[in-house]
């Protein structure tokens, strides 16, 4: 079994939508930031260059340096330097404070004289533009993203609807009802394929189950009939009164084995029926009465005393026939495994049934106690099915059975809810 944590399909789809959408959003905002910044810088440089060019022409025409503080500054120099762009901080008289500027410094030879031309532009404005662009981008993106998210959620739910409806139907499907599953048709090819496969599978399971049930019944019939023949033939041989003791003992052996086989067959069929959940009755039943009848039915057969000291009325929900089986099997188990000096104590409370019987030591393999054909003591002629049947009934009806060994007593406790 895969024990991975389970998440709802719709949640999973929207979660991945959210994760990847947000990631794409963040990445595109970063990209937009750098691209816009590059473009702005590039455009600013171009505009500074053209400004410097126009100033150069103006100096050429006027013959004097031009100064407009803080954005234009020209002065005569001795040597021609290299053109460069740098960021700088200058005092802006209009704002009356220091402001960051971008500055282009270029050297030109105009009318045989060398000039250093500095043109500047305020950086703050550039960043304002950048900020505005990024912000509006984020707003647009978020709006689109949320709308998309909401729509896709609705759409996904709509697309998967037949799937969820059919899932509900599959959950209510019962193998015993012998009714084919009726799934909702859909125009989605994959879902339609899934439906076809599920229909094929469930039909197969239903027919297998019916076959198995039929097989169990047939086997029962086919085995019981030859056993009936054996038993009847032996009966007639006894009746004819013409057999000696030795032959008689052989016949008794055969007869006993036939009976053993018949009992085994009956118990296996009962076990199969419980497993196939062919018992559906669940009534309020008086377990104490059933128990009393069961104790009576062992009367004269048990060599050890069956003591019933504390018998509170016990009402349970279940099948009266199976409740009888529980009482019979636990009693017969106790009788089988109690030595002739021991005793059996039966107790009921308002929700428990307890059978204790004397013993010398705890059972060696308590975990195997409810296995089919498990025998703690191989010298006993037990079939090893009684407790397995009790356990199966308990599992089907939600009763719990426990085994403990205390004060030299084996204690089986059944708890009903």
């Amino acid at each position: 079994m895969n024990h991975k944590k389970k998440i709802k399909l719709l949640k999973k789809i929207s979660r991945s939508f959210l994760t990847y959408g947000l990631l794409a959003m963040i990445l595109s905002v970063i990209a937009l930031y750098f691209i816009t910044k590059y473009i702005i810088k590039d455009e600013t440089e171009e505009s500074l260059n053209s400004q410097a060019f126009r100033i150069e022409k103006l100096i050429e025409k006027e013959g004097v340096p031009i100064n407009v503080h803080p954005i234009i500054n020209t002065q005569e120099v001795k040597y021609i330097g290299t053109q460069r762009i740098k960021d700088t901080i200058l005092y802006d008289p209009a704002e009356e404070e220091l402001e960051p500027y971008m500055e282009l410094i270029t050297y030109k030879k105009i009318n045989e004289r060398a000039y250093k031309i500095s043109v500047r532009t305020k950086v703050v404005e550039l960043y304002d533009i950048l900020q505005a662009i990024i912000l509006s981008y984020i707003v647009i993106l978020l709006t689109v993203f949320l709308a998309q998210y909401y729509l896709s959620r609705k759409n996904t739910a709509l697309v998967w609807k037949p799937f969820f409806n059919n899932l509900k139907k599959i959950k209510t499907f019962s193998i015993q009802s012998n009714k084919a599953i009726n799934l909702e048709e859909t125009d989605i090819e994959e879902f339609s394929e899934l439906n076809t496969e599920i229909k094929t599978l469930t039909n197969k399971v239903i027919s297998d189950y019916q076959n198995l049930k039929q097989f169990t019944e047939d086997v029962s019939h086919e085995i019981q009939t030859p056993l009936a023949n054996i038993q009847a033939k032996i009966g007639n041989l006894f009746d004819e009164n013409q057999i000696n003791e030795k032959q008689y003992n052989l016949l008794i052996e055969i007869s006993n084995n036939a009976r053993r086989l018949a009992t085994l067959n009956k118990k296996l069929i009962l076990l199969a029926k419980i497993e196939n959940q062919q018992f559906k009755t669940s009534n309020q039943i008086n377990f104490t009465n059933i128990l009393k009848k069961s104790i009576e039915s062992f009367e004269g057969l048990n060599k050890v005393p069956i003591l019933t000291r504390e018998m509170e009325p016990l009402e349970i929900n279940g099948d009266p026939y199976l409740a009888g089986i529980i009482a019979d099997n636990l009693l017969s188990n106790a009788i089988k495994y109690t030595s002739s000096e021991g005793e059996i104590i039966i107790k009921t409370t308002t929700n428990e049934f307890i059978v204790s019987n004397s013993g010398e030591a705890a059972i060696k393999n308590p975990e195997k106690l409810y296995d089919r054909f498990y025998k703690e003591n191989t010298t006993k002629k037990s079939l090893g099915l009684g407790l397995a049947i009790v356990k199966k009934i308990c599992d089907n009806y939600g009763y719990t059975i426990s085994y403990t060994f205390s004060n030299n007593m084996h204690v089986f406790k059944l708890t009903f809810n």
Binding site: Q224, G235, I252, G300
Partner: protein, 226 residues
């Protein structure tokens, strides 16, 4: 008594006939559903032993037919199917008893006699054997008109003995009749001896001798003179 055995298993038919013939019953057989239907509609029977799984049909349908026609014939179902549903359905449809295969012939014999004793078939509900008399509707036994106190098992044992008189009953057969499947809990049936002895004591001196011990085999209920 005329008995129809509707059973598709020929071997079993033969065994039942052989056993019942010793009690001077007349047995006829039907080996499939249609034979059973035609025999039931033509002849009169005192009792029908009906197998549910007849090759060509369901014994329960035959039972419905018999009851529909208002025939007052006792029916005992003998079926390989131990399922409770079948048992309940069979009895609901009006069968008088339901016997699961495999069974002892002595058990079948005792069930037949129990059914015949029922008031609805105008049978005599009393059983008697020389000085022993049993009123089955009151579950009370008498020896020389004097009531004797028996436990439930002792009473069952006495009825079983008398209904199967002159037949050898092994310890196993007796135990199975009295305790059914519960005899699984014991490894030996020697304890039957104790119960037989109790019964003998209660039956007083004369009647006690009817229960004969068949050495190391079992018991036989028979008249002293035989």
């Amino acid at each position: 008594m005329k008995i129809l055995i509707a059973e598709d298993e020929i071997t079993l038919q033969e065994s039942i006939i052989k056993f019942l013939n010793r009690d001077a019953h007349i047995c006829e057989t039907a080996s499939d559903y249609y034979e059973a239907i035609s025999k039931v509609s033509i002849y009169e029977y005192d009792l029908i032993l009906l197998d549910i799984n007849l090759i060509t049909g369901n014994g329960l349908d035959l039972l419905k037919l018999i009851k529909k026609e208002g025939k007052k014939i006792p029916v005992i179902i003998i079926s390989a199917n131990n399922s409770l549903d079948d048992k309940v359905e069979g009895l609901d449809l009006g069968a008088d008893d339901y016997l699961t295969k495999p069974f002892h012939l002595t058990e079948l014999n005792s069930r037949i006699k129990a059914v015949m004793r029922r008031g609805k078939y105008d049978g005599d509900s009393n059983i008697s054997f020389n000085e022993i008399k049993i009123k089955t509707d009151a579950m009370q036994a008498y020896v020389n008109e004097k009531p004797i106190q028996l436990t439930k098992k002792e009473y069952d044992l006495l009825v079983y003995f008398i209904t199967n008189k002159n037949r050898v009953l092994s310890k196993e057969v007796i135990a199975e009749h009295l305790w059914g499947d519960n005899i699984d809990t014991v490894d030996s049936f020697d304890f039957i001896y104790v119960h037989i002895n109790h019964l003998r004591k209660k039956l007083t001196d004369v009647a006690a001798n009817y229960i004969r011990t068949v050495y190391r085999i079992g018991y036989k209920f028979m008249d002293e003179d035989m």
